[in-house]
Amino acid sequence: MIEAIGRRSISAIEELGRVGHFLMDMGRGVRDVSTWGRLLVVQMRRIGVDSLPVALFIAAFTGVVLALQASYTFTGAVPLYFVGTLVGKTMMLELGPVLTGLALAGRVGASMAAELGTMKVTEQVDALETLAYDPQSYLVVPRVLAATLMFPVIVAFSIAIGVVTGWLTSLALLDLSTPDFIKGLKLFYVFKDVWFGLLKSASFGFTISLVGCGVGLSTRGGAEGVGRATTRSVVFSAILILVLDAFWAVVLL
């Protein structure tokens, strides 16, 4: 048993070392602006614009459910305009960033792991190196930067859509007027609610893309390896999103 614990500990330390090495390599890659600069916009479109429909779909239904569940919980005991408060706060602080993050861990992170994993096992990454490109500058940096920049944008749209669908649900199904919904929305609003959610989402974007690229570039073993890398990327990203979510809550709230 002690031997097993020792083996696991060594393996964990080695993994940490690999992550540190990967981050250092990425830091080196950031300096090569001429390589990643022209690829950044392409990645921003792929990660940002193309992910928007999924994120908005999730946010729209989240807003509806939040309004209905708030009303169900408040009945008789709490004034109904608090529905606006709950929808706004929850979308900004928690569900907007976290649900979008989890959804994009599947869409963006898995896609990066699969794409880079396939490139790795078919020697395209080696080919890139022989053409004198640094894979970090060409593949990793534009993806990580684009995800870090675009996740807050996607989450901002998600929050807006969630609040709007919460408001429409309140109007249509809860007999709550627009002024009352807005009154609730503004009641405990502070600007920190917005930047907290957006900062958190930027950290999710950074983490998901880093995990997707790192796992993808360490892929071995053909199609099966690519499948494993994709699954690992989604699982690691989802775990790290929840850990980061708790971390930001402890540090900033």
Binding site: R28, T122, Q124, D126, A127, L128, T130, A132
Partner: protein, 241 residues
Amino acid sequence: MIEFQELHKAFGDKRVLQGMSLKVRDGETMVILGYSGTGKSVALKHIVGLLHPDAGDVIVDGQAVSTLDRDRLTQLRQGIGYVFQFAALFDSMSVTENLALGLRRRGLDDEEIEERISEALALVDLSGTGERLPAELSGGMRKRVGIARAIALRPRYILYDEPTTGLDPVTSAVIDQLMIRTREHLGVTGVVVTHDMRSAYSVGDRIAMLYEGRIRQVGTVAEIQETQDPVVRQFIEGRAE
């Protein structure tokens, strides 16, 4: 000149190269023969620094590859073309974009890039395929695009990793002719890793046999054909025992 100096490389418990030494002279085409899994491709990857040796080194133009920093390694790679076993074309890019990528890295202007791509595709008899994606090409065509990508760079050295593996005899002969034409046209030094004897005799100036991690014998095509070494003899004759 490329020189392997007592190169050692292991993957876990598997010792692949165990003191491989070999000199490749400027202007010649050196063929490295060997059984599958003996480390021929591993040796090739050390030339461009894709792998780091456990001991020993590869010396290219007087520079020990494993000691080069990132910038100098990039400079070295700009003088070497690498043709991968399965071509390793970027599958999301057209043939033209595949060829342009390396040229753009060298800072060439659009006009020169276009000119070099046309020339390289003509040399491999693939003019007119520039807009096609790798998935739309046959195995032989993909290999030829891989060669075109390497020669468009006008390198000093070209490294071929199993260029005829998996191809039918006629397409293999076409690839052999292409390698000969490339050497005549560009005057490059070539290193060809293969276990295809017909191809080795056809393209090689000299042949080296890699066996159990070391060079067992090196010589001209005639010398290898007349060898009395039982291991080399068995390999070139393709005998089971």
